[in-house]
Amino acid sequence: MEFVVASSVGALTAAGIYLILRLRAFAVILGLALLSYAVNVFLFASGRLAINMPPILSPYEELTYSDPLPQALVLTAIVISFGMTAVLVMVALGAYLESEDDRIDLEDEAEEGDAPGEVSKL
Amino acid sequence: MPDYVEILVSAFIVLGGIFGLVGSFGLIKLRDTMQRLHGPTKATTLGIGSVLIASMLYFYLVRGQVSFHELLITLFLFLTAPITANFIAKAYITRHIREKDLPASSSEYGWSVYDDPPGSERDES
């Protein structure tokens, strides 16, 4: 079981990294999504694996429970990365709409004359 | 626990397994998308149905606890399955079937996939 989880994390990580190394924003977004899957499982696994011992205290019997702390951490991490992804998606969309393509790279600074200060005013 | 309970529960479980498998099998066996649509929307429904029945029976007969929230899942699937199928079908039709390949709608308006609803200006886009 442990190896299954570990290798899955590895696979997700590798895929995510490959995708964030692409040139288009959308691929990068996909990559980051995979990476956050990967890291969530990784963080979860840091509490070690347990089958059918969810940390829901049972009123009726003495039980062993899986480590609840990493689960809580992963929950927080999931929520945060959701917020981040949302912002990322919007920024990517904004960058695309403001320019002609959704490339992730910047063009050469030197050519650019447009400076902070002459931007859209309210 | 008495045998008949075991048999009953097991039977439903096995039944569910079989139908589930068949439904998914249809997904790869059948030839075109519309045909495949039939498999899941039915076989799986019964499959999951009997699984849920099995669960209810199990908890009631074996565990002695009344459990009927499985009904909720059944209800939910029955509510949603047709909608899902309907959407998937339309998704397929819009992309792959031309209006003339379908039977006429037998009313003044064509199928909603191709034709605007009454009232909206027809010459849109």
């Binding site: 990476l35 702390l69 945060i80 920024v91 403001e98 320019s99 910047l106 931007v119 309210l122 | -």
Partner: protein
Amino acid sequence: MNHWIIAPVILPALLAPIIGFVMRHDIPLARIASLAGTGALLAIAIGLFVSAGGDPQVYYLGDWPAPFGIVLVLDKLSALMVLLTAVLAMIVLVHAVATGWDARGWHFHALFQFQLMGVVGAFLTGDVFNLFVFFEILLIASYGLMIHSGGRKRMRAGLQYVVINLAGSTLFLFALGVIYASTGTLNMADIAQRLQDVPEGEAALVRVAAMLLLVVFGLKAALFPVHFWLPATYSSAPAPVAALFAIMTKVGAYAIIRIHTLAFGPGVEATDGMISDWLFPAALVTIAVGAFGVLGARRLMPLIAFSVVGSMGTLMIAISAFEPTAMTAALYYLVHSTFAAAALFLLADLVISRRETDVLSLRPATVQNGLFAALFFAAAIGMAGMPPLSGFLGKLMVLDAMRAPGQMAWAWAAILIGSLITIVGFARAGSTLFWKPMAIKPEVAPDRDEAGSPGTGARTAPAGAAQIAPTMLSIAMLALLTGFAGPLTGYLSDTSEQVFDRSGYVSAVLDGGPVATHPEAKPGTPSDDAAEATEGSYAAPEDGEDN
């Protein structure tokens, strides 16, 4: 328990939503609230700074004993950083309001307050995962500020900023996973204590954790080779935001100072020397990158951004020694470089908004050319580390502290040559910006008085007192740092003493606070065998309640 410790986090946290969701259609009101809030934050910060004299003070959130709940720790270092943040924030905020930057987009003040909350929270927390959470808060707020008021270039640079930081956050989580997996705790003090005697077997994991964290914090601190994002970001951000970001790189530096002295610091044989061995060369290259960037810059904002990179290199060199004297120098230089960067960015905003471009090419002289030239000269001196301003003292202290035989020559060469290149770069930029233009309009070549005659082709109204004050204030801070270098350094050396006093920190956190209500897990004494740890005895309630 001193409830004021959490005040600097809660204040903006409660103020920001009100500004953002209630006052969002009323800029003047938002401005007042934001200024008032920042003022209050400053007051609180001063109060905490004063009260942080003695041992670390611990705030046990939720009244849970450490290491089981989250704690805030107020020691000299965190108090210093909070105060630094508050002062910088006040300066930047006044600039943003005076120049009207805050009105060029939505939610500036709410995001600004949230940003402060994140930064301050990061400085105060005593829990590694909570550190992550506040990193995220300050980051996501900074995304909003970074792309404030939009614009093509800014949006694309912003996208890069978001992406690189998301990657960084992911790495942070990986590191935290390794930490929990290897130590079974998240409380910094507890980690430090458990790492004191790492069984040789777990050293590998611990080392990996330390290294990954170094990369994570290095990314924030613009440390080579993970600094590449900074120039584009800072030079595309609204100038006041860039000025505020001067504290963000310091967050990374702070985290390294905190974690890599407390947890993986000197005396932990698992990670002994490893961090220093990698941090030092990276810092050297960072200085080079920054200096080259300054000399080679074609535009003003990147030039300043690269000078920031260079300054982080110097700072990191001092940190990498991981000994009190060098740490004192590092802290001094940290404070200095924050204000130097702020001064430059704020000034750049004033200049660029009048030159209408930050390209370092010949343009007609702007209104107040003389004044801007003088301010630029001062700020550049500060950043380049020329006397008489604090940059010089800071660099002297760093050089003086880098006495390890293996490192001395490298450190000195890097810092001194780096300074030279930086000076030359600033000199070129300055004379292009402020001197050459005098040649274009000979009839008004020498500006008789600093007020600037209308003949000098003023594009826009001259900057009023309120607009110039923040820049001058940040330069004044440099002057103060110089004048009161003695007393300040006295405080800072106490601070670095405390930073390296691991046992003091640990006992303050783990021995104080509410008593654990549960016998088999006392605060600070981790239950010794895993079976017991993952098992909780539990008394059945009268009736299982389902709703």
